[in-house]
Amino acid sequence: MAEDIIVIRDLMKIYRGGVDVVALDNINLNIEAGEFLAIVGPSGSGKSTLLNMIGLLDTPSSGTILLKGTDVTKVTPNERARIRNKELGFVFQYHHLIPEFTALENVMMPMLIAGTRKEEASGRAAELLDQVGLSDRVNNKPNQLSGGQNQRVAVARALVNRPSMVIGDELTGNLDTKSSNRIYELLRDLNRKMNQTFILVTHDMHMAEKTDRIIRIVDGKVVCEMNRDGETFVSNDACSVGEDG
């Protein structure tokens, strides 16, 4: 059994204002290394908020998040930045590549932020672009690539520093079905070949069913969990498939 890469305990996130909004309500979750996991739920359920917490882009109101044994809720902002750079990769709905840089330069960026030499970063970036099937597009800028190609560049960028896990938020939300399938197949392939951990938020159950484990969140709570058993999923609670999105 693989070790837990993420352990979340009693996680709360409350947005204080005129009316307090409980975005995450006592979340408890373990994620193993090498998992290919989807988090689903209706709009406003807190799935993206949970992703922000795991991705160290935001801090919880209470609770703990252990990343490879370290409580990342208590570290300094600079340490959070370092962990994001070294341990996490992000793929967003919009690829968010830097438009002035080529595909190769975009993929190199996390390594350059880490202080890696340009030659080493360039070699690693080229290798990843080859893995995602874009070795002939290394010198193209984002505006010279299709949506699907840009998203593949974003996947390569997320992997460049060999992160413990890659976080994706509706990463096929802006793509057509064919491109979406292609992206998910790519991630599936990387998960199998590299034992790369993927945590993907999606409202599309069709895409979620391509993963191995589906966590459903409603009103900030984990309401059910489904694990792959061959070609189907087995839930440990009553989950209504099809209510999401």
Binding site: S48, T49, L51, N52, G55, L57, D58, P77, N78, A81, R82, I83, R84, N85, K86, F90, F92, Q93, Y94, H96, I98, P99, E100, F101, E105, M109, P110, L112, I113, A114, R157, D169, E170, G173
Partner: protein, 389 residues
């Protein structure tokens, strides 16, 4: 350093924004250089027409006395001071010049031509004859051109110079034109002739001193006042208005430069804030990739720094070119005789361009600090956009 790569790429990809910032700073710098040049030109005119056309110091008789008796030793004492370029003992008096039936009131200056020329550069203003001719004849005089015109006397002609009941026949050895109202009453004559005319004996009424640095005059005046019993005044004392004008000009210019700095600074800061707003998502992505807030701050500060030298050079060129154009068309401005300014004059010193580059650097960096701070303080979640909320 990835911050440098990102900053450089921002600059070359955002041509419109970069050009706008460059032009804004360049115009500000160009205006500063023109203003510096105008101020320097005006100051030089004032100094040339006023300060340098008069002695920097005047030594007057002791209290209760009308003349300086020991003028030779006193002149030697003054000449021994460091920075003294010229010392000229003079006997100045009021009299009348008569040529045929015409009579004009005059102020005559009895002096030694070699010393007076060092003091007042009289030969430079001579329009006829040589000032040094006064050394060779006790009855030669140099007249102001306007005075000669009023009297109707020409060079070589003879006229009578009188004071009280004494009169002496003088020959016009030359004419001088200083471009001031003094030339309608001015007569230069040998010191001995003036002493004879006044009947006062071997005395002078004042000693004029010229320094290599006019700003040192008050200090020397104070020292001479302390060590002798003679009254010593500096040009700042007898030209208080000019001294005040020069000082006030500097202060006014400082305020002007500060205003230019503020206005340009706000324009550039505003532009950079707009750029930060446009790049909010990119900043969020960089933070998501692990860039620290300090790195984000660095990126925008580096952008500001990289733009400074070309902006400064452009501004310097603009200032230089406009200065040359203005110099082709000298504009006459009449500001009255007291300040001595008669033309709009630009004087561009080489150090102005160094000031220009430094100004551009300061302007860009200080204007960029606030937007850079705003960028670094962005919340990465909000910066990345609604899909993360």
């Amino acid at each position: 350093m990835f911050e440098m790569d990102v900053a450089w790429r921002h600059i070359v990809s955002n041509r419109r924004g970069t050009a706008f910032t460059l032009i804004s700073v360049a115009i500000a710098v160009g205006v500063i250089i023109m203003s510096l040049g105008l101020t320097e030109g005006t100051k030089q005119q004032i100094i040339e027409n006023t300060v340098e056309k008069n002695p920097h110091l005047i030594i007057s008789p002791k209290e209760g006395e009308n003349y300086i008796y020991l003028y030779r030793s006193l002149s030697g004492l003054a000449a021994a001071y460091p920075g003294v370029k010229a010392v000229s003992p003079r006997l100045v008096g009021q009299g009348a010049a008569r040529f045929r039936e015409r009579v004009e009131g005059v102020e005559f200056i009895g002096m030694r031509p070699d010393q007076e020329d060092l003091l007042m550069a009289v030969q430079d203003d001579m329009i006829y004859g040589s000032f040094s001719d006064l050394q060779y004849s006790r009855h030669s005089a140099v007249l102001g051109a306007a005075l000669a015109g009023n009297l109707g006397v020409r060079p070589g002609g003879e006229f009578y110079l009188s004071q009280k009941n004494r009169s002496v026949k003088m020959k016009v050895a030359g004419l001088v034109s200083k471009g001031t109202s003094r030339e309608s009453t001015l007569v230069y004559l040998p010191l001995e002739t003036a002493q004879s005319l006044s009947g006062a004996g071997d005395v002078v009424s004042e000693i004029g001193v010229k320094l290599s640095d006019y700003s040192a005059a008050p200090e020397m005046a104070a020292d001479l006042n302390l060590n002798t019993r003679y009254k010593v005044t500096s040009w700042q004392d007898f030209n208080r208005e000019i001294a005040r004008f020069v000082g006030t000009q500097s202060r006014i210019n400082d305020i002007f430069y500060a205003l230019i700095f503020l206005i340009s600074g706000f324009v550039i800061a505003n532009t950079t804030v707009m750029i930060v707003t446009r790049r909010t998502r990119e900043i969020g992505i960089l933070m998501a990739m692990g860039a620290r807030r300090r790195s984000i701050l660095k990126i925008f500060l580096i952008e500001s720094l990289l733009l400074s030298p070309p902006a400064g050079v452009m501004g310097a060129l603009i200032g230089f070119v406009f200065a040359q154009i203005v110099a082709l068309y000298p504009l006459d401005v009449s500001t009255g005789s007291t300040s001595g300014v008669t033309r709009l004059m630009l004087v561009i010193n080489p150090e102005f361009f160094i000031y220009a580059i430094l100004f551009a650097l300061g302007l860009n960096v200080i204007s960029g600090i606030y937007p850079a701070y705003v960028a670094a303080r962005l919340d990465p979640v909000q910066a990345i956009g609604s899909e993360m909320g």
